[in-house]
C-alpha cells in the first residue's frame, strides 16, 4: 500500500511547524509498513490531483497568502473535483482560510477557493493561545496552539470540535475548525498532528479507504503522544 502526500507551496506556506504535520503522517504510515511519498509543489509546478491521496495546505503571512491565492484560482476546478471525490485535505491556519469564499483583510479581500461554504474577516486583536477542543469522533481532546487575526464563520458546516480552552474559529461561537467531506480545516498548529495521533490516523484511514476500500489501521504505541496531549489538557482545562 502506498500514500502520496502533496505539500502545497511549502516555500510560501510554511509557518511554524507545518513540516511536523508532514513528518507525522509519513512516519505513522511507515511504522505500519505503508509506503508514504511526499511531493512538494512550488508555485510554478503543475499539480495532478489524481496522483494525490492527502493534500496539505499550510499557513503563511498575509502577503504570502495573497501570492498563493492568485495561483490557486488557476487550479480551483481541479482542487474542487478532488474534494468532491472525497480527496483528503488537511488545511491549517492560512490554508484553512483559503478553503472558504474569501478573507476580508484591512488591506483588501483575499479571494478563496470556495471549496467549503465559509468565510473569514480580519478582527482585532489577534487570537493567540494554547487551545483545547473536543469532538466525540476522537477519544482524546485535540490540543494545539492558535495565532490568527481572522475570524472564520462556518455557517451550518460541522466544526472540527467544540472549544474547551482558547478561542477557536472566531472567539465567539465556541466552534473550532471545519469538517467537510474528507477535508479537515483548523486554526490549530503546534503542529497539529503529532500530539493528536487520532486526527493523523483519521486522515490516513480516510485516504486508504478512498484508495483501497475499507482499511483497518494497525495500532501503534502512542503513549508518548498521549502523554504530551494530556499535559496540555491538564494544564489548561
Amino acid at each position: 500500500m502506498k500514500i502520496t502526500i502533496g505539500h502545497l507551496y511549502p516555500d510560501l506556506l510554511n509557518l511554524y511547524g507545518d513540516r511536523g504535520n508532514i513528518q507525522c503522517m509519513k512516519k505513522r504510515c511507515e511504522w505500519r509498513g505503508i509506503e508514504a511519498e511526499v511531493r512538494e509543489f512550488q508555485l510554478t509546478d503543475p499539480i495532478n490531483f489524481a496522483n494525490l491521496d492527502i493534500v496539505l495546505l499550510g499557513g503563511g503571512s498575509d502577503r504570502e497568502q495573497m501570492l498563493v491565492c492568485e495561483k490557486l484560482r488557476m487550479i480551483q476546478k481541479d482542487f474542487r473535483d478532488y474534494v468532491e471525490d472525497n480527496g483528503v485535505v488537511i488545511a491549517v491556519c492560512g490554508g484553512y482560510q483559503l478553503l472558504g469564499h474569501y478573507y476580508d483583510t484591512n488591506n483588501g479581500r483575499i479571494e478563496g477557493l470556495s471549496l467549503v461554504d465559509l468565510y473569514t474577516e480580519q478582527g482585532s486583536p489577534r487570537l493567540i493561545s494554547n487551545i483545547v477542543i473536543e469532538n466525540e469522533l476522537f477519544e482524546s481532546p485535540i490540543v494545539g496552539f492558535e495565532n490568527h487575526g481572522g475570524r472564520t464563520y462556518i455557517g451550518d458546516n460541522r466544526p472540527l470540535g467544540k472549544v474547551k480552552f482558547g478561542y477557536g474559529n472566531n472567539g465567539s461561537d465556541g466552534a473550532e475548525g471545519v469538517l467537510y467531506k474528507n477535508i479537515v480545516g483548523t486554526y490549530l498548529h503546534g503542529p497539529l498532528l503529532p500530539k493528536n495521533p487520532q486526527v493523523c490516523d483519521y486522515l490516513i484511514r480516510n485516504a486508504l479507504e478512498r484508495k483501497y476500500g475499507s482499511e483497518e489501521l494497525a495500532p501503534l504505541d502512542d503513549s508518548q503522544e498521549l502523554e504530551a496531549n494530556r499535559y496540555i489538557v491538564e494544564r489548561f482545562c
Binding site: 511554524y16 513528518q23 512516519k27 502577503r63 493567540i128 498548529h189 503542529p191 504530551a228 499535559y231
Partner: protein, 442 residues
C-alpha cells in the same frame, strides 16, 4: 539626578535580594524623569552604536564593547541583554555617576527590534548593526514582515545613522537599501560548505526566498545556512551588494580562523555563526574609524559568561551551555555540537514562558535528525515542554530520555555520561540552568 539615585538604589536592592533588578530600575528612572534617557545619551562624547537582528545581538554587542574598550575608551553597554526601553534606560542610568553625569566615550546598546520605535525618540544612534532576520517567537513578534516594517520605520527615524548590515542576508540588505540610510556591508563571499544538498543545510527552513523588491524567486550560488548566502534576483536589479568587510580563507578545523582586510583573525570558539558575530563587531568598530590593533587580544580574552557556548567542568565532565531559541539558532547550535567529533551526551531544555514565546511549534522547524550520529551517546529532554521535545525526537526515530527537572537531568548525565556534555536551552531556561551549572561547578 533623583532618578539616577533611585534607580541605583532599586537596582542594588534587587541584586541583593537575588533578582535581576535592571529592568525595574530603568522603568522607575523613566517614571521619575521621562527625559533621562535622552539627557544621558546626549552626554556620550563620541558615537552610539545599536545592535539589532534576530540572532547574535548579545555576542556581537559584547564583542564590540570589548573591542572599543581595548582602545582605551569608556563606554555604556547593556551587557545583560536587557534590550527593551526600560533595560536600555537602565544601562545609561546605572553607568551615570552620583552627580547624574555620564562619563562615556561610546555607547554600545543591543535593542530588541520591536523596541526600536520606542527607543529612537530618546536618541538617534550613529550606527546600527543589523545581524540577520529569522523567524522568531511568532506569537510575540508576528511574522517577519511585521519586524521588517518596524525596522524600516526606525531607520527612517534616524536617517543619518549608518547601517552595518550582513550582506549575506537578502532580507536585511533589502531593508538597508530601501531605507535610504548610508550603509556598509560585511559577509562571506567564498563557499564554505561544499555539499549544498547535504545534511549541513539540505532541508533548512529559509526565509525570504522571494525578492522583496519584485516578488521573483531569488537565485542562489550557494548557501551558508538558512537563507544566508550568495544570491541575486533573476528578474530585477536587486542583488547581493559589494561586501566592504569580506571574510575569506575560512578555517574551522580548530577554532575559527579567517581573514578580513588582510588581517588574520583567530578565535577559540566553535560554531560557524560566530564568524558572523566577530565580523559584525569588527566591521562596526572599523566603520567608526577605530584601528582595532588589539583585536586578537580582545578575542582571546573574550569570555561572555552568559550561556553562549559557556564552558564548565563538573566532576571531570566537560559541560558546554548554549542558548538556542529559534530554528536558525538551533540549527547552528547543532552544527556547532557536531563539529566536536568526540562522543557526547546532549540535554535539550525547552520552556514555554512568555519570554520564550508560548508557541513551541518551531521545534518542528529544527533539523534534529542531524543528531542521528554515532558520536551522540544520549539525548535527554527536560524543561516545561519536555514532552513535546521527546515527541519531536521520536518522529525522527531518535530515542530520548525524559527528565523534566533540569537539575536532575544534568546530575544524571554527569553521573553516567561520557564526560562530554552539551546543554542546549531556550531563553528562560538559560538563567536557571546556568545557575545550576555554576553551583555544581563550585
Amino acid at each position: 539626578m533623583i532618578a539616577v539615585w533611585t534607580a541605583k538604589i532599586v537596582s542594588t536592592v534587587c541584586r541583593l535580594s537575588g533578582r535581576q533588578g535592571v529592568t525595574l530600575a530603568g522603568r522607575i528612572a523613566l517614571k521619575i524623569d521621562p527625559r533621562i534617557l535622552a539627557d544621558l545619551s546626549s552626554m556620550v562624547r563620541e558615537k552610539i552604536f545599536v545592535v539589532c537582528g534576530t540572532n547574535g545581538k548579545t555576542t556581537t554587542n559584547n564583542l564590540l564593547c570589548s573591542a572599543i574598550e581595548s582602545e582605551g575608551k569608556k563606554l555604556v553597554c547593556n551587557h545583560t541583554g536587557s534590550n527593551m526601553l526600560a533595560g536600555v534606560a537602565a544601562a545609561f542610568v546605572l553607568a551615570a555617576g552620583n552627580n547624574g553625569k555620564l562619563d562615556a566615550d561610546y555607547a554600545c546598546i543591543e535593542i530588541d527590534e520591536a523596541s526600536t520605535l520606542r527607543i529612537f525618540p530618546h536618541f538617534k544612534p550613529d550606527y546600527m548593526v543589523l545581524t540577520n532576520l529569522f523567524r522568531d517567537q511568532l506569537d510575540r513578534y508576528g511574522e517577519i514582515d511585521i519586524t521588517m516594517d518596524i525596522l524600516d520605520r526606525a531607520m527612517k527615524m534616524a536617517s543619518e545613522m549608518t547601517v552595518i548590515v550582513n550582506g549575506d542576508d537578502a532580507l536585511s540588505v533589502y531593508l538597508a537599501m530601501k531605507s535610504g540610510n548610508p550603509y556598509r556591508t560585511y559577509g562571506i563571499s567564498e563557499q564554505v560548505f561544499k555539499e549544498q544538498g547535504s545534511e549541513q543545510n539540505g532541508h533548512e527552513i529559509r526565509e525570504g526566498r522571494f525578492c522583496k523588491n519584485c516578488g521573483a524567486r531569488l537565485e542562489y550560488e550557494f548557501y551558508h545556512y538558512s537563507q544566508l548566502g550568495k544570491y541575486h534576483c533573476p528578474n530585477c536589479e536587486f542583488t547581493r551588494p559589494e561586501i566592504d568587510f569580506d571574510a575569506s580563507h575560512i578555517d574551522m578545523s580548530n577554532g575559527l580562523k579567517f581573514e578580513v582586510e588582510g588581517r588574520r583573525i583567530e578565535a577559540d570558539y566553535r560554531g560557524f555563526y560566530n564568524i558572523y558575530n566577530i565580523l559584525a563587531a569588527y566591521s562596526a568598530a572599523r566603520t567608526a574609524g577605530l584601528s582595532l590593533e588589539n583585536f586578537d587580544d580582545v578575542l582571546r580574552k573574550f569570555n561572555p559568561q552568559n550561556g553562549r557556548m559557556e564552558q564548565f567542568v563538573i566532576d571531570g565532565t566537560q559541560v558546554v551551555l548554549n542558548l538556542a531559541k529559534n530554528p536558525a539558532g538551533f540549527n547552528q547550535n547543532i552544527s556547532a555540537v557536531m563539529e566536536d567529533e568526540k562522543p557526547k551526551d546532549v540535554i535539550i531544555v525547552i520552556n514555554d514562558n512568555a519570554q520564550d514565546g508560548t508557541d513551541i511549534s518551531w521545534l518542528w522547524d529544527v533539523d534534529f535528525d542531524r543528531f542521528a550520529q554515532e558520536s551522540i551517546r544520549s539525548i535527554t529532554v527536560s524543561g516545561i515542554r519536555c514532552q513535546d521535545m521527546r515527541l519531536r525526537m521520536k518522529y525522527v526515530d531518535i530515542p530520548s530520555e525524559l527528565i523534566a527537572d533540569v537539575k536532575s537531568a544534568i546530575e544524571a548525565r554527569i553521573k553516567d555520561g561520557c564526560g562530554n556534555l552539551y546543554v542546549l536551552v531556550n531563553y528562560t531556561a538559560l538563567f536557571s540552568t546556568r545557575n545550576i551549572l555554576v553551583g555544581m561547578q563550585n
